[in-house]
Symmetry: C2
Subunit: 204 residues, 2 copies
């Protein structure tokens, strides 16, 4: 038997929440009832924040990162190294790399990775715009920072082929045992690669 909601308005709100990934109808109900207990201005702030974001958000013309301006704060920052471009799948990856404070170059957000199973081909991604950026000649190094999955590797490979006639250095994030990880719990493929790709031991 379907759940009987005592109110259609409640049902609509719960159903909207339950459309979100990872939110089932019980969690949706809990979230909606929580919001209902907040005052009117707080609920309006919540609802309008997401509507405003959708209506007013921009994507950087250069790197396709989310932005409040036509060119994002990273691309327009003259202190950053505009000769290095890091290719990522989405803006969460940009935020993750930025949080490390170890990277001073620019980004290029593909908006996904090549995944024939999901119907996503090169034309659905910001690959042509990347090639154009490289063709302008200022970029010296392109760093692939995509997931180490079949799809991620395919995408890196596809892009590397498209870039092969341009004088850019291609590099990829170092793969290996995570800092702080115990060897015995590291998966075999990672451990195997970390032996093959061993690095000089440097004492500071």
């Amino acid at each position: 038997m379907d759940k009987q909601y005592p109110s259609l308005l409640l049902e609509r709100a719960v159903n909207e929440f339950a459309k979100l990934p990872g939110i089932g109808s019980k969690t949706a109900m809990r979230l909606v009832l929580h919001l209902l207990q907040q005052d009117k201005t707080a609920v309006e702030a919540f609802g309008n924040a997401i509507i405003d974001l959708k209506n007013n958000v921009k994507y950087c013309k250069v790197c396709h990162n989310i932005s409040d301006t036509d060119v994002c704060s990273i691309c327009s920052n003259t202190k950053r190294d505009s000769s290095t471009v890091c290719i990522v799948q989405n803006i969460r990856d940009v935020m993750a790399i930025e949080a490390t404070q170890q990277y001073q170059g620019l980004y290029h957000v593909l908006g996904g990775i090549i995944s024939p199973m999901d119907g996503i081909g090169p034309k659905n991604l910001e690959i042509d715009s990347l090639i154009e950026r490289v063709a302008q000649g200022d970029i010296k190094e392109v760093i692939f920072a995509l997931s180490t999955t079949m799809e991620g590797d395919t995408t890196s490979f596809y892009i590397s082929r498209r870039l092969k006639d341009y004088p850019v250095k291609l590099s990829v994030l170092a793969r290996g045992v995570s800092v702080g990880d115990e060897l015995e719990y590291t998966d075999e493929i990672t451990l195997g690669r970390s032996i093959l790709n061993r690095m000089p031991y440097v004492t500071n």
Copy 2:
């Protein structure tokens, strides 16, 4: 270091989601980016569903359940037994009991339980309105369906004292081993009570 959001609009939306119970900033980010990928009408439907609910929701004058009308569909259903009232903490409990299809009486939603630690006393709950309903004389049985916690028991006890001069039968949900549960995994208190409150064995 605080997370740097590439857009203030994005940051605002993520922060609003992260205020919800059980939603951390990473989940909030994932939900917001999911919504951002939906089309404009879907995002507006989401935002407006919760705003409309807050602005237009009513609470039943009789039982204080959430409702689209002044008197809810349960209280105004003449087929239901208006001589029995089940006292619950919140509307989720109403929905849970309704889903069993085993109860034909009415409800009274307290809006919480007595909890001095959280500053919730009898005056913050719909207890006076319950006494008034009983005082009208049509109610013959009041069923306590509150949580079996210190607070739930305190609330049931408080209400039972307030009702002691009215000719109503007071009852409480049966407590015992859950249907389908293995005895060895049932907690001691529940198992103990289920022995003390053992019921006649009836074959159908």
